[in-house]
């Protein structure tokens, strides 16, 4: 197929870094703030940012329903951090009125890894990516607390306080989500993985 056009939801957050990473992964990247802009893209990235702000603006400016419709129709979406929260069917520790787009059968706990002083980076093996582990940059990051049967777990980190591992990357169909921010590292392999998902979905 021709080069896919991938939007980055540009209501708030680290939009620029995603545009750069997508361009490096050979996609045409453009910001999306309006329903008519959403209609013109093949796929979407929902960036990191403040999920309560992004959710509120998406409702106010009439994007929430179109986003749900596109996701239901199979549009590939990749969400990082706040974007992961937006893709969750269920969230914990959100605001009472906080809406999500949903689409991935998972429960995500907001700010689960703690406040900024607990924010961290670490190397994580990522299923389906060749080569070195990716550098996971976790910023007031969420984790996935539970997943449904159709959700593939792509990466985990060891829990700080016990033997369990925390799920930090998942995929369900055309939807991909990570707790961490590959867009801050200069390593574009996760974005390339997503671009391949987009190309496969178009076939």
């Amino acid at each position: 197929m021709s080069t896919p056009t991938i939007g980055v939801l540009a209501l708030q957050g680290d939009v620029r870094e995603h545009l750069v990473a997508l361009a490096a992964a050979d996609a045409l990247a453009r910001p999306v703030r309006r329903p008519e802009e959403l209609a013109e893209v093949d796929a979407l990235v929902m960036p990191g940012g403040e999920s309560t702000t992004i959710s509120k603006l998406a409702v106010l400016f009439g994007l929430m329903e179109p986003l749900r419709e596109r996701v239901a129709a199979g549009m590939p979406v990749y969400g990082t951090c706040a974007g992961m929260i937006m893709l969750a069917d269920k969230i914990l520790d959100g605001r009472d009125d906080q809406e999500t787009v949903g689409g991935i059968d998972m429960t995500v706990r907001r700010n689960a890894f703690g406040r900024q002083n607990e924010s961290f980076e670490t190397a994580i093996p990522f299923a389906g990516l060749a080569g070195d582990p990716v550098t996971g940059v976790f910023i007031r990051a969420p984790w996935v607390e539970a997943v449904g049967a159709g959700v593939e777990v792509l990466a985990e980190v060891p829990a700080a306080d016990g033997p369990d591992a925390r799920i930090v990357a998942v995929r369900q169909g055309n939807l991909l989500a990570t707790s961490f921010h590959p867009e801050l590292t200069g390593d574009h392999r996760v974005h390339e993985y997503f671009v391949r998902m987009v190309e496969a979905a178009a076939r």
Partner: protein
């Protein structure tokens, strides 16, 4: 069963990437000054990306006079408990013990701020020594780069806090952007002299010349009072805005706060800014900066 950890590297906190990356997540957003839990909730409801917890907004600091210090830890903790968005708080310039206290309280960002009375008229705090990231004010590129050299992970143009007058915010942001643009045009031979002129480390000067931007996020502060003010700062190149007295010194804070959030996201769409500007009630009265004596200009604080 293997008990080998999945990675040989231990997780690292407080790295430059984690500190600067936090500011990247705030981009396109509005950070609002709040003095209690109730205001913090109004800010969060309105869509603020973070709140700045302080005892008095700058307009009141101006009015009351006296020494302005770090806020009461109880008040900061109440605000941390009241909202789920990031909470920032201010230390005095060079008062690294206030900064240590703020870090121990778990604030998400420390603003080493000229709005408080400076504790040291020569030195700023060594910000590399902290896990908590710092934001600092700057009136020009050299000042911004000196703060980054000291470890600041985010810069805000200073403006003139507590005036409700955007003129100084515009001046400082334009100054920083113009100096960056000038560096872009320099060849390598000229960058050494530029570093000397700017009184900033050569490595940072070269980095700015290559990137065409600061190596950290740049917000605007000090005088934003209306949705159009916020959009103006965004169009001039600020990646987000701090609003201090402008919200809670106005007639209808909840409405004004939500309006400034909308205008910050759609900063290049005059129709949306117009809609956001309707029926907001009274703006803060404001002060004409040209009648403000030099000694009362907070932007002059910091070195």
């Amino acid at each position: 069963m293997s008990t080998t950890p999945t990675s040989a590297e231990q997780p690292q906190v407080g790295t430059a990437r984690v500190k600067r990356g936090m500011a990247e997540q705030l981009k396109g957003g509005v950070i609002m000054d709040v003095v209690n839990a109730e205001q913090a909730k109004i800010a969060e409801d309105a869509g603020a990306v973070a709140v700045m917890a302080l005892e008095r907004v700058p307009a009141d600091i101006r009015k009351d006079g006296g020494v302005a210090r770090m806020s009461d830890p109880n008040m900061i903790e109440e605000i941390i408990g009241a909202v789920s968005i990031p909470v920032m708080a201010k230390s005095r310039i060079g008062h690294f013990v206030e900064a240590q206290v703020l870090q121990s309280l778990g604030v998400d960002y420390i603003d080493e701020s000229e709005v408080l009375t400076p504790a040291d008229e020569v030195n700023h705090s060594d910000k590399w020594a902290f896990t908590t990231p710092f934001v600092c004010g700057a009136t020009n590129l050299g000042e911004a780069l000196r703060r980054i050299a000291e470890g600041a992970a985010m810069i805000r143009s200073k403006g003139e806090a507590g005036t409700g007058n955007v003129v100084e915010a515009v001046r400082h942001l334009r100054q920083i952007k113009n100096e960056i643009a000038k560096l872009r045009g320099f060849d390598n031979n000229e960058l050494y002299a530029a570093a000397k002129e700017l009184r900033a480390p050569y490595e940072l000067v070269r980095e700015v010349a290559e990137l065409g931007k600061l190596p950290v996020v740049l917000f605007s502060a000090g005088g934003v009072a209306t949705p159009a003010d916020a959009a103006l700062m965004r169009q001039l190149g600020a990646e987000g805005v701090f609003v201090g007295s402008g919200i809670f010194k106005s007639g209808d804070p909840a409405k004004r706060a939500a309006a400034i959030v909308k205008a910050t996201t759609f900063y290049d769409d005059p129709k949306i800014i117009a809609d956001a500007s309707r029926n907001l009630g009274e703006a803060m009265v404001g002060i004409n900066c040209d009648t403000l004596p030099e000694t009362e200009r907070y932007a002059n604080r910091g070195w």
